[in-house]
């Protein structure tokens, strides 16, 4: 009897002890966080990325595959700042997963760890689809990636203490490579200072801020509204006064408006990858920055 009792106690202790995962199930909302999770977690994570670089994260629906993945996730890594407001809350309430509810360790909001640009003084939908907490596209400033990586690593250690040493060593290795890469990028990008650009949507604001470039106009009349002919004509007039070096858009934007303006203003339209997977050359965060800088520098010449 006592040995059986000991057995039961042992089993109970195992059950209440902090769980040691063979692999951590992670749901990343966007591809940039998916790559960051891979850098930190290596092969000890089971990753699913909810969106790809060819999708506008605003228009995603809580489709069945996302609900199933959210149900199984130990950690959800998302941008926050209302970027996923149309579908992430549904994933939380419809997945039956207590771990990824807001406020739980299994819910990681990357934008909380960085200083956000373009925080609106007044929030009103008359200004278009504005984000009350500020611009959510934080991943195009490498210092933001550094901050998020540190916080994400700490969170993964908190959730899965068994693999803490593994996560921490991988994070250190990543941060060392990343900081070296930042120095190189900043050197390479020196000619881009002050470069005026027209952007499709305000999703390149962090890149422009980091490299000291200037956004002289938007193809969208207001955030979230598709370009109109009237607005494009007005933009053309603006460009004759303050010329731009390039028109910049993401892989998921409709290129027609940019091509029209490019033809009339005699300025190249540049499709930047914007996030990991945006074109065949950008398969991780390092190549995302490398390729973005290469494309911008090629225009600057």
């Amino acid at each position: 009897m006592p040995s059986k009792f000991k057995c039961v106690v042992a089993v109970l202790l195992l059950l209440i002890a902090s769980p040691a995962f063979a692999t951590l199930n992670v749901l990343a909302c966007e591809p940039e966080w998916g790559d960051l999770v891979k850098e930190i977690g290596g092969d000890k994570i089971n990753l699913y990325v909810a969106t790809n670089a060819l999708q506008d994260p605003h228009h995603i629906e809580a489709r069945p595959s996302l609900i199933a993945r959210a149900r199984n996730a130990d950690l959800a890594v998302c941008t926050g700042a209302q970027l996923e407001i149309g579908w992430l809350p549904l994933l939380q309430t419809q997945s039956g997963n207590a771990r990824i509810q807001t406020g739980q360790p299994g819910y990681f909001e990357a934008s909380r760890y960085v200083v956000k640009l373009e925080v609106p003084q007044q929030v009103d939908r008359v200004q278009g689809d504005v984000h009350p907490a500020g611009n959510p596209y934080i991943h195009l400033n490498p210092y933001n990636i550094e901050k998020v990586a540190t916080a994400l690593s700490a969170r993964m250690v908190q959730i899965n203490a068994a693999d803490a040493a593994y996560y921490q060593s991988r994070t250190q290795a990543f941060l060392t490579r990343w900081r070296q890469a930042i120095t190189q990028w900043e050197q390479r990008a020196a000619p881009l200072k002050g470069m005026p650009l027209v952007v499709y949507h305000k999703n390149f604001s962090y890149l422009i801020d980091w490299l000291g470039m200037k956004a002289v106009g938007d193809l969208e009349p207001k955030p979230g509204l598709p370009p109109t002919t009237a607005h494009l004509s007005a933009l053309l007039a603006t460009l004759s006064a303050t010329p731009a070096k390039a028109i910049v858009l993401s892989a998921h934007n409709d290129p027609r408006a940019a091509e029209w303006l490019a033809g009339h203003a005699k300025v190249p339209a540049l499709t930047l990858p914007f996030t990991v997977g945006g074109n065949p050359r950008t398969q991780d965060l390092f190549s995302l920055y490398d390729d973005t800088l290469s494309l911008l520098l090629a225009v600057g010449k």
Binding site: T51, N52, L54, Q55, D56, H58, H59, I60, E61, A62, R63, P64, S65, I67, A68, R69, R71, N72, Q82, I85, G86, W87, P89, L90, Q92, T93, Q94, S95, G96, N97, A98, Q101, T102, G103, V115, K116, L117, V119, P120, Q121, R125, D129, P132, A133, G134, G224, L225, P226, H252, D254
Partner: protein, 466 residues
């Protein structure tokens, strides 16, 4: 002379050498000054550069501080009693309707009237449903949602008011209160989220537009990569096809299962099967007999419904911003068994109240496709069809009492409808729709309908239901 010259020269020389020496010293001093000047210029230059960098940093810090200030004020606004205010949103709807038949005389011939507001909107301009939704997390364990519909004639009706769990283990979600049943596909969606102004005919005929339950729901999501969702509901069953029973126990129950996933990056699908069982008691409707006198028919027995649903969505690479397509269809099978009471006491009083067995096996289905062909613009087409099936009306089969003509609503007929719609959504918060339909719900004249509808939502961002 020479001596004085010599002396003069010597004196001059005496002065000259120190001058030359002074020159050399001057040159040395000048060189030193040059050096000092250069050194100071270098240092000043370095200081200026540092000053410029510090300025830039200060500029950045100022910007960050400004952002932080705005963020802080918004945080400050969130302290105090209003900090936990729920998310609120409001939907405004209205229509302009043109129908060739009188909307008040709307009827789905061949099917027991469901009592819901299933007819077309009133003619000319009319206010649709104004819907207020309030939702918030209650505590770490529960979330609460209330959706109230403010009717155009006045009065508020509660569409949904429920709590649901957030922290049950193993993929369970429990919900309690009043909620739209999880059977089928369209049932969970509110009217403003529909792709057409009105519900498909099977929903009108078998569920009175939609089924709402007062009771409990338990859902389980399987730990698989394919979505497998199973659910069960226990409810009062007081909505059509059930009725208000004044009886202990469960009046209506349902079970449903849904399976869904992705095919590549461009397709997402979901399919499901549901079963609803209700036990109506004295579920009555008003009809007319063959002499146009009012008759009250009431049914007591069991009413069961099977629903099979399927949805397929396509968007290039899963990006629905520019173009996308949605194909949706559901099939209903309804079975009723029990007692029907025919009572013409309020009308002609010829037969009084007669009771006999009543059984029916009827079905219906709809199929619709909606295609967004450019940003903001969509076109949709829907075909509805109901099958009269088999209706065994014991009162009529008896032969001695009322005949088939005394049950005009249950005349054998297969209603159908064709609907075409265009909608224009400037943003996801504002939508205008133009809809045409040839509605053959009622035996006799086809109703040619045209609706212009507006749907505006304000407040908290609503969810993108699949």
């Amino acid at each position: 002379m020479l001596k004085s010259n010599l002396v003069a020269a010597a004196i001059l020389f005496a002065f000259a050498s120190p001058v030359r020496a002074q020159d050399a010293e001057l040159a040395k001093i000048r060189a030193e000054i040059e050096q000092i000047k250069q050194a100071y210029e270098q240092r000043i230059g370095a200081l200026e550069k540092r000053l410029a960098e510090a300025d830039a940093k200060a500029g950045k810090a100022e910007k960050a501080a400004a952002n932080a200030e705005v963020a802080a004020t918004s945080v400050a606004n969130r302290s105090g009693e209003n900090a936990f205010n729920p998310a609120m949103s409001l939907v405004l709807q209205g229509t302009y309707a043109r129908t060739s038949n009188d909307p008040d005389k709307f009827q789905i011939t061949g099917f027991v009237p469901s009592g819901g507001e299933v007819g077309p909107p009133k003619r000319s301009f009319g206010l649709g449903e104004t819907e207020l939704a309030i939702a918030s997390n209650i505590d770490p364990y529960f979330r609460g949602v209330a959706i109230v519909s403010l009717a155009s004639e006045g009065g508020a009706s509660i569409e949904e008011a429920y709590f649901q769990t957030l922290a049950l283990p193993s993929g369970f979600i429990a919900k309690g209160g009043r909620y739209f049943s999880g059977i089928g596909y369209l049932n969970k969606l509110h009217q403003h989220a529909w792709d057409f102004q009105d519900a498909p005919l099977p929903y009108k005929a078998f569920l009175g537009n939609k089924l709402r339950q007062d009771g409990l729901q338990l859902k389980w999501i399987a730990p698989t990569d394919l979505l497998v969702e199973l659910g069960a509901e226990l409810a009062s069953g007081d909505q059509f096809p059930g009725s208000d029973r004044n009886k202990n126990g469960v009046g209506g129950s349902s079970i449903f299962g849904h399976v869904g996933g992705d095919i590549g990056a461009s397709y997402a699908w979901r399919t499901g099967l549901s079963y609803l069982k209700t036990s109506p008691r004295d579920r009555s409707y008003v009809d007319t007999d063959s002499l146009s006198n009012p008759v009250v028919n009431s049914f007591t027995g069991s009413a069961k419904l099977w629903v099979a649903d399927a949805v397929l969505k396509w968007a290039p690479n899963g990006n629905s911003t520019h173009t996308n397509f949605k194909l949706q269809g559901e099939y209903f099978r309804s079975t009723q068994n029990g007692q029907l009471t025919y009572d013409d006491s309020a009308g002609s009083g010829v037969f009084g109240a007669l009771s006999n067995q009543f059984g029916s096996r009827q079905s219906g289905w709809y199929l619709q496709g909606v295609y967004q062909f450019m940003p903001q613009w969509r076109v949709g087409y829907r075909y509805d069809r109901l099958n009269f099936g088999k209706v065994n009306n014991g009162i009529v089969l008896n032969g001695t009492g009322p005949g088939a003509a005394d049950f005009p609503t249950l005349a054998p007929y297969n209603p159908s409808r064709n609907t075409l719609m265009f909608d224009w959504s400037l943003t996801e918060f504002s939508r205008l729709r133009l809809q045409f339909a040839a509605d053959k719900s009622r035996l006799g004249a086809t109703d040619n309908q045209m609706f212009v509808q507006y749907i505006y939502s304000l407040g908290a961002h609503r969810a993108h239901q699949f």
